[in-house]
Each structure stands twice: as structure tokens, then as C-alpha cells.
Symmetry: C2
Subunit: 328 residues, 2 copies
Amino acid sequence: VSEAGNGELAAIERIRRLLPAAPAGETWIGDDAAVVTGPAGEALLFAADAVVEGVHFDFELVEASDVGWKALAVNVSDIAAMGGRPLQAVVSVVGVGAAMLDELFSGIVEAATEYGCDVVGGDLSSGPCLMVSVAITGTTGERQAVLRSNARPGDLLYVTGALGRSAAGLRALRAASGHLEAPGSRSAPGSGHPSGDAALSHLLSAAYRRPAARVAEGLAASRAGATAMIDVSDGLGIDLDRLASASAVGVVLDTVPVADGATREDALAGGEDYELVFSAGDPDAVSSAFKAASLRPPLRIGMCVQDQNIRRLGAEALPATGWEHRLA
Amino acid sequence: VSEAGNGELAAIERIRRLLPAAPAGETWIGDDAAVVTGPAGEALLFAADAVVEGVHFDFELVEASDVGWKALAVNVSDIAAMGGRPLQAVVSVVGVGAAMLDELFSGIVEAATEYGCDVVGGDLSSGPCLMVSVAITGTTGERQAVLRSNARPGDLLYVTGALGRSAAGLRALRAASGHLEAPGSRSAPGSGHPSGDAALSHLLSAAYRRPAARVAEGLAASRAGATAMIDVSDGLGIDLDRLASASAVGVVLDTVPVADGATREDALAGGEDYELVFSAGDPDAVSSAFKAASLRPPLRIGMCVQDQNIRRLGAEALPATGWEHRLA
């Protein structure tokens, strides 16, 4: 179960208690993807994530093809955050009109092609609004999956790219559509203003509409010996808090890389950037793994410390705030 | 993609054309579950099915735990219809209040326990109504999956149990709740009246609220050399039409086994019984496989014929009608 906010933590905890414990060698609820045992006894990654109209997107701001892209890409990101690559996806679509179906699936297929994921089935239903639920399988090949829970004090913290583009892009889209606050859509607290530059606005909007999943980066991090990894789906503060809590370490950040056109608040609490945050003990191994894969080097943002209560950004507290899915 | 009615066929066909063709040895859209290649190169079954409030269920008639049971059981049934057993499920829940969450998951866990399926993850979201989307993996072990498409002229047709209980149970529940036609809920055309017998009503209602998935029966059918198989999710007429069309054979039924308390129309067009219909060439192999598994023998209902345009029940036409999910 992907934990979509602290308001949901109690619910997730209740679900976890209702389910049996995972056997040794498997990881169930509480990571980006579950690590389970496939038919041949091998490790299989398995995850699901739904996007809901009026909660995760708003048709005044995005096209149906964007919704399709995002529904698949956020699931690929869950596999990437384990150091895996995607294999297959099934898609449950509720409440799509016949007119919109092709457009929705064209976005799904574009993302599936981009990430080498086979869309192999699913189902269609009527319903009161558009909901797209994707489930995905993946593999880490010969390597172990990178969990959230194995960061150690002294490990360095990295992020695969600057943050805040998605939140800034959402703001740019709202401004362009003439409403600054879309009902039911997410809003970044303390938001600033997007750059007036049209090219930058376009870039930011694209980051919101069509987020990239960092599959190659996740694999490079795994090869570099990453000890823990998570994708920035809900905000750096809240996602790093999850990694730290799962690993029972504290985190001290020196810096937060803010994307061009985004605010510091966007970068810290905006979410939906889908960059990967990971911990690793050997900076040389990190450099060479990313270089070997022809990837830009990840950005070093801080380190893990022994005291598991610490969440710090420079001299300040690092707030564990971000996008929170509310239970109805 | 599970085909939920002929009204959906055009949409499913469009989706199929948008997706690349499955490679040799895999089966994607158009069967109960997809047959794909797992991380170790082995066959993996993968399927998804969603249930939506006001479309598939109505809280005036069922409890949240029933919804949880059904959401998981219908997915297990998709695996059973391939001759497989379930491995893992992930669950996306939209629009569940905190108060209902425990009850919903208690039903999910009951079904998961009954069918030996691990619930390993998923996600929670807010939304305008309750929707539960389950995705499931499964395996056929050393055996090949039983597709819909390999029935041959001359094969006998079997069903694993009498039909119509679910439709009759829905009618009994509606009668008990004081409304004969629940808005948005499915209605069996030409319905009769449930028996006044309270025990029978209870049995029928239970068949609607908590359908059984026929995993052991599907495995026995596979061992008996079943050439094609499908679960009766939408109605015998429509589901048998799918099997016949996929296999390019005609079907001639001698009989339709009607469950106690159900009408012939319930049995033909009611759907949601989740019994398995299969074709097989060797009746002795069928008898002995079911006997070896200590299962009641399946009911022989007819046979496959060469002329692929034939859909007959005795002297009459077999109507391909049943529950149809409408696209909004």
C-alpha cells in the first residue's frame, strides 16, 4: 500500500494488522512495491496505484492521454524505486466515455512503450467519474530489491534530479486556465508564481502532465549499492520521513535542489516529481554507476544519522508535509 | 480485459488494436486472465477486475465485507478459469470511509484466506463512491493455461454447478429490503419470484453476496484435458458465446442446470454464478479427474459443433444476453 499521507497512516496500519505478516524474504505493505515469490520461486515486484478524477487530476488542466500516461508512469516509478524494471501492467478503467477511451489508452500505450512495460489486460466499468487503477509487475533480475528500510547512519542521501517542477507546472496550468485554485485539485502551500517565460511554463506543465519514471536511475542506484530508496511522489519532506522511519535513522539535509521555475516550497512539499531519493555508503560507487549508465550524476543532499528522531534541513526542521490523500 | 458485455466489445476491440500483439506463448487481452512471462521465464497469470458502488453493488443490499469478499473472489475466479491457482493480489480502494475500511478488508482477507491468495499491497484514495480494484497473479504450475480459444467440434461442454443462484439471491435481497428494483443495480430480465422458504432465500442471498471461486474445479478440468474454459460471470448465454467465438465453434446445449429457487432465465442470463464452463474431449477423463479431487462431477450440458454460427439450446436459439457493463 503506498502511503499517501500521514492522515492515511492509521488506515494503512489497520490494514497491515488485518493481514498476515509477510514470510521471510518477502516484503508486503509499506514499500513502493511488494516483493513476492513468483511461480518459479524467484522474486517478483508487484504494485498498484489508482488515479481519480477530481482528486488526482482535473480535466480543465489535463487531457485524457495525460491521465493515461500518468496512471502508468506512477506505477513504473514504484518499480523503479525498488531498483527494478517493469514487466507487465493491467488496467482497470471506471467511468470512461467511449469518446475518451482511445485518448486515455493512447497515453497509457505511450508510457508503456517508453518504459518497456506490456499492457496485457484489465477491465472497463461504468462509474460516476474517471478512475484508472493500474497494477504492475517488475523484476530486479539477479539483484536484490532496494527497500525503504535498510538505510544506515552515515549513509549519504541523493536525489536523482532537482525538485518542484510538477507543483510549479500545476500552478502554471491553473494560471493559464484562468483559475488559481481548482476545486478538488492539489494545491501547494505557500506557492509563489511561475516564471512568465512561456518555454519554461511549458516545461513545467509537461513535468506535471507527463512525469518521468526513473527506471535507469533506480537501476544505477541499485548497482551503486543503494541501501534504501523511495520515489518522491508526495513531497521530499514526507517521502524522506518515510524512508527514515522505515530505516530507523535520522536525516540531515544540507540542501534541497530546486528546479528552475519552482519554489523551495514546491521542492519540499509539492510532490509528484517522481525523482528517486536513495541512501548509499560509497560516493565513488554512486558516481561510477551513474556514469557507466550515461546518466547525469545524482545530487547529494545530506546524510543519515543515528538519532532516529532527527529530520533537519540545515539549521531548521525538515517538515514532513506534502500531498495527502484524504479518506472520504 | 474481461469483456463485460457485447456493448463493450467495440471498446475492447479498439483497445486491442491500440496495443501491440502478444508475443508467441503469451495471451493478453480477451481471456479471463493474461498469460505472460514471469521474471524467470515461466508462465505467469495476471488479471484485474474492479467493483463499483451503484454499478456492481448497492449498500442497501450488501455489507462492506461482502464487497471485499466479492472483489477478491471474482479475481480468483479469473485465475480458476485458466486452470490456475492464485498467488498474490494488490488492492486499490477508492472512496472508502475510515469507518468502513476494516469491514471491507475483513471480507478481502476472508476470501484471500479461503483461496490461499496473499494480499500484498495496493493503495487508498478518496473518491465519489466506493470502488475496489483488485489485480491478481496466479500459476498453472507445470500445466498449460486453459484458454477460451481451443475448443474443438465434438468436444463435450460441462458446467461445474447449477446456475442462477446469484440472480435469484439478488431478487431475494431486494424483496427483503422492500424494493424490487434498486437503482443502478443489475436486474435479471423476466425474473420470477424467490421461494418463500427462508433457508433457501438465505442460501441464494449468500450466493449473490459471497460467490465462490471454483479453483479446485478449474484445476480438475485442466487435468481432465479441458480444451477451453471460462467462468460464468455475465450469464451462461453470453459467456458461452465468448468461448464459442474465441474457439470458432458452434455450441448446442441439451440442458441448462437451474439451481433450486432460480428460474431458467436466471440460469441463462443472470450471471455472477462464477461456475466454470469448459469443453473436453474425454468424458471418462473428466469423471476421474473430478473424482480424484473429491469434487462433485461437473454437469454435462451439450457439445461443440463445426458450424461456428450455431448457438442452440434444444430446439431454440441460445440468446447471448446477460449482464452488460455500460460505458458511461
